[in-house]
């Protein structure tokens, strides 16, 4: 359109006016932007710089390697193996399902596990690494690494995982590790930041649990620069983790393995101690279970099998099991009588099969009675009437004091789970717990290890060690910690007259070596390896007067859970004691027939350091013993290496 000069000038002026307005607005906006820039970059610069530092620096925890556990010869009982895992970050994966599908073709993954990992990954923030598979073989692990370009978001990682090479043999001693549970955090009040690491494992049972603070080590950390997706760009610095302390136990793998094998099939436990040092060399509880199951995550079905088993494989019977000691308690009553001066060793008491106390009859295990018994005879033949008589003279106060002196009723400081203190009853205890006064009948029952008395196999082994040495031996399980000797001084004397101890020891020698001894069948013919011991058969039921009249039902005819416990305590060699043993076979029947042979085998195995030669056994029994040893499935143990020894 054509315009006149005037119109053009007018239009130009109008545009100029309006453009000045617009230009002014632009300038004002520019000023506003500049002011904002100044506010952010000058006035609040320090705030933002701080935020920026937090943005890019991330502290990562480095888990320490758990301390190793060795036996007394330096064999590894618990070690850490490399665990090849595959970790996935959803954010970097793109198509999660496609990647998982490709991964499952390379690696053998259970479909359920895969689905669970996928669900977890979807539930968490996209940058959180999730373990998809663990315990891969080296082949699987390397093929994941090789195929990395086709598996975005997948990282193969190497972690450490606990392994127990001897499996079930040490489940009750070494215990196991497991994941950190909420319950664990609450009950221990443990605030170590390392517990926040996913898949970190802590000791959950026995030595692993009780020595946790020593075994765990110090958590390390590293500061890394990360981007917004959490990807590590570079490491700024690191404080390396301090590995946990290595632990050497007093146990002997060979003996432990033999003991577990010897007890198999029974619900039983056995403790073998060095009498001089108090070292626990074997601590067997049968049945057992594979602790490695707990490390990997035990299935409900497997766990159900363990908890429903009437033989209670999860219980560590050596320290948790409490049993009436039965006749194994008689040495205490005898010593209490001698020390109190209430009886002379040669003084005889006549056994007619029972004594009468008011209207109640207290029976001897032998219906017809033993006749005239002195102290040694009373131990040898385990005459109950002798101890009923003695108990009435001595009284419960002296008996329970002697029991405590010999180590019963005390909770020993060994790093095991659920260590029980047992029960040495006295007047105060009965008043407080039963609400009635102590009566003489209670004393009679206590004198033969029945009634209220309860002891663990560990306590019985301690008692035996103290009888063998006359010193206040205390049990110990830890030999060294990071090479530093942890063993106690064991020289404290019990202050019992050696002559009195000698009487008791003679009785115990007779038990295993004299023709009339209750454990004569389980004797050792090899002179230098003879055993001194005591059998025990403890009732778990009351025998009524009516039953006695008609004849006591034989153990074999009773249901398993009502049968008597079979016990044996002893030490060997009898003339120069080295090892003490206690054996309890739950509902096993008689101490002489069931517990004594086991105790003999364990003591011989301990003394010989290998499977005992049949020459140690009476000729008539050798074939059976050889057959038994052939059947036992023992681990082929290499002699301990020098490297292992020095390392431990």
């Amino acid at each position: 359109m054509k315009r006149t000069q005037k119109e053009t000038e007018h239009s130009a002026r109008a545009i100029t006016r309006r453009s000045m307005v617009v230009g002014g607005l632009m300038l004002a906006t520019g000023g506003l932007l500049a002011a904002r820039m100044r506010y952010l970059q000058v006035e609040r610069a320090s705030d933002f710089r701080l935020l920026a530092e937090e943005n890019r620096i991330n502290i990562q925890l480095l888990p320490p390697a758990r301390g190793l556990i060795y036996d007394r010869q330096g064999r590894l009982l618990a070690s850490n193996e490399q665990n090849y895992t595959v970790v996935m970050v959803r954010e970097n994966a793109g198509d999660v399902d496609a990647v998982l599908d490709r991964l499952s073709r390379i690696v053998n993954i259970d479909m359920q596990d895969l689905a669970r990992a996928r669900d977890e990954m979807m539930a968490r923030a996209p940058f959180v690494p999730i373990t998809i598979a663990d315990r891969l073989s080296w082949e699987e692990f390397s093929s994941v690494a090789v195929n990395a370009p086709a598996l975005p978001g997948i990282t193969p990682e190497v972690g450490l995982s606990r392994i127990y090479p001897f499996g079930a043999d040490f489940a009750h001693v070494v215990g196991y590790v497991g994941p950190v549970s909420d319950f664990y955090l609450e009950s221990t009040g443990d605030t170590d930041p390392v517990l926040q690491i996913p898949d970190f494992q802590v000791g959950r049972y026995a030595v692993e649990s009780r020595m946790e603070q020593d075994l765990r080590g110090e958590t390390g950390s590293r500061r890394v620069e990360v981007n917004a997706t959490g990807r590590v760009m570079r490491e700024l610095d690191r404080i390396p983790p301090t590995p946990g302390k290595d632990l050497q136990l007093t146990v002997d793998t060979g003996l432990q393995n033999y003991a577990q094998a010897r007890l198999s099939g029974e619900s039983a436990s056995a403790v073998v101690m060095e009498v001089e040092s108090g070292d626990i060399v074997a601590l067997a509880s049968a049945p057992s279970y594979d602790p490695n199951l707990f490390v990997r995550g035990i299935s409900t079905a497997e766990y159900g099998n363990l908890t429903n088993d009437p033989y209670r494989p999860l219980a560590s019977k050596t320290v948790q099991g409490l049993y009436p000691p039965g006749s194994t308690f008689k040495m205490i009553t005898a010593l209490a009588g001698l020390e109190a001066g209430m009886i002379e060793p040669d003084e005889t008491i006549t056994c007619n099969g029972f004594i009468e106390l008011g209207t109640r009859r207290f029976h001897c295990w032998r219906r017809g009675g033993h006749g005239r018994m002195n102290m040694v005879d009373g131990l040898t033949q385990s005459c109950d009437v002798y101890y009923y008589e003695l108990a009435q003279r001595v009284g419960i106060d002296a008996i329970s004091a002697m029991a405590r002196r010999l180590g019963l009723g005390e909770r020993y400081d060994v790093p095991l789970s659920g260590v029980a203190s047992g029960l040495v009853p006295d007047r105060d205890w009965k008043r407080a717990n039963r609400g009635s006064e102590w009566v003489v009948g209670d004393t009679l029952n206590a004198a033969i290890g029945q009634g209220f008395v309860l002891n663990s196999p560990l306590q019985l082994a301690v008692m035996t060690s103290r009888l063998a040495t006359g010193r206040a031996i205390r049990p110990q399980l830890v030999r060294t910690l990071n090479g530093i000797d942890q063993r106690r001084d064991q020289t404290e004397d019990l202050g019992i007259d050696p002559a009195h101890l000698a009487v008791v020891r003679e009785g115990m020698w007779n038990v295993s070596n004299f023709r009339r001894g209750t454990a004569f069948r389980s004797r050792v013919v090899d002179e230098g390896f003879q055993i001194a011991g005591k059998t025990g058969t403890s009732q778990v039921r009351n025998i009524t007067a009516a039953e006695r009249a008609t004849g006591v039902t034989r153990n074999e005819d009773l249901p398993w859970e009502r049968r008597d416990h079979a016990l044996f305590v002893g030490y060997a060699p009898a003339d120069a004691p080295r090892y003490a043993v206690s054996v309890v076979v739950e509902h096993g029947g008689g101490g002489s027939t069931v517990a004594a042979p086991i105790a003999r085998d364990l003591l011989l195995r301990a003394m010989h350091g290998t499977v005992p030669p049949s020459s140690a056994y009476p000729v008539s029994q050798r074939r059976d013993i050889e057959a038994m040893h052939d059947e036992m499935q023992l681990l082929p143990l290499d002699p301990p290496t020098e490297a292992g020894r020095t390392r431990a």
Binding site: M1, K2, R3, Q5, E7, T8, E9, H10, S11, A12, A14, I15, T16, R18, S19, V21, V22, G23, M26, L27, T29, G30, L32, L33, A34, R36, M37, R38, L40, Q41, V42, R44, A45, D47, F48, R49, L51, A52, N55, R56, E225, V226, N227, A228, T229, R231, M233
Partner: protein, 379 residues
């Protein structure tokens, strides 16, 4: 003959046009683009790949396009305006109905050597068609309602098309840019007062109705508005970008961490670090001084465009120059306000700096129009 046409004999011809180019403007553009190259080099971790070298090639191509546009007389472009506007609308419709198939929300047309975003093209063609319209229109009829309705329709059609793409940034830019053209052309201020008044009234009503029984929107819609207006209320969701961006910017301080020393952008905390959020890298590495320098360069470019517009007596040339200035201004003002947390996050690049072919070429062509107006101004 228009005023220019009978005085054009005084305008330079042939190669002499090179001498009459607005060299200061070219220098300013070059300076801004160079800042862009530096930043793209930096965010790539000190590498020409993948962004800086390609951006340089596009800039060179853009310079050539600018010179070609500049050397063609401005009245030729006026005559082409309607066609250009029509073509860009056609392309917009094309991506609207065919571009979305298969590729999600595709906003471009693949030309082989580059991807053309019709919405970018529209920003210039809208300015052109509006300038041409007011050049044609009798000045006395400018504020006549019927003649206001026509340009409003010209603005709304591409605005709606880009809005439903959805490309909120471009839609806002077209709307405000177009309105500014009407204002510059002399449309009575009462129209603007009425529209602004109505908008303010509507927003007030919507906000005031919240929580009352005559509430105009659903609750969830209000919550969306909340996060849109105050991203900090959701720092790991919608507000993540803006929070990270402010951290990067603020940590720059007076003089910045130094070239290539930016931690936030190079560590991937920033989204879109090479496109919409590239200003944060500049601000982090060169601080307040660097950010202000860029702002001053931008304002100088605006000044040169406005001076050109005022100097030329041709209505089309003048309006086109002002329109280009306004578009350019909206680009960087919205981008910077967004990055600095003054405006909601809408996808608007930082002109001449952000990585992107269409915006660069279209802007260079637009500056070509300003250069053409400058060369072919009456003497």
């Amino acid at each position: 003959m228009s005023f220019l046409e009978y005085t054009h004999k005084a305008t330079p011809t042939g190669l002499r046009k090179v001498l009459h180019l607005n060299w200061a403007l070219i220098l300013l553009i070059g300076a801004v683009a160079s800042i862009g190259f530096l930043m793209l080099y930096s965010v790539a971790g000190g590498s020409m790949q993948p962004w800086a070298s390609l951006q340089m090639q596009r800039f060179v191509l853009g310079l050539v396009v600018m010179l070609i546009v500049a050397f063609v007389p401005i009245w030729f472009w006026r005559n082409l305006s309607v066609v250009a506007y029509g073509v860009s609308l056609l392309l917009l419709l094309l991506v609207e109905f065919f571009g979305s198939v298969g590729m999600g929300a595709q906003r471009w047309i693949d030309l082989g050597f580059m991807r053309l975003q019709p919405s970018e093209l529209t920003k210039v063609t809208l300015v052109m068609v509006l300038a041409a319209y007011y050049d044609w229109l009798d000045i006395r009829k400018v504020s006549h309602p019927a003649f206001v309705a026509i340009p409003v329709a010209l603005i709304l059609v591409p605005t709606v098309l880009t809005f439903i793409q959805p490309d909120l940034g471009t839609a806002v830019l077209l709307l405000i840019g177009g309105a500014a053209m009407l204002f510059l052309a002399g449309v009575h201020w009462a129209y603007f007062a009425a529209v602004i008044g109505a908008a303010v009234g509507l927003v007030t009503a919507v906000i005031a109705s919240r929580g009352t029984e005559w509430q105009l929107l659903q609750d969830y819609q209000y919550r969306r508005i909340d996060t849109f207006l105050d991203p900090a209320s959701d720092p790991l969701g919608a507000g993540y970008h803006i929070t990270q961006s402010q951290i990067a910017l603020g940590s720059g301080g007076w003089t910045g961490r130094g070239f290539m020393q930016g931690t936030q952008s190079s560590l991937n905390f920033l989204p879109e670090k090479h496109t919409d959020f590239i200003f944060t890298t500049l601000a982090e590495e060169f601080g307040f001084v660097g950010g202000m320098s860029l702002l001053v360069l931008y304002l100088l470019i605006l000044l040169f465009c406005i001076v050109t517009a005022v100097k030329t007596k041709d209505r089309f040339a003048s309006l086109v120059s002002l329109g280009v200035a306004m578009t350019f201004f909206l680009y960087f003002a919205i981008n910077m306000a967004m990055v600095m947390g003054l405006a909601p996050v809408v996808g608007v690049p930082l002109p001449l700096v952000s990585y992107g072919g269409s915006a660069m070429l279209v802007l260079m062509a637009a500056f070509g129009l300003v250069q053409s107006a400058h060369i072919h101004r009456p003497r």
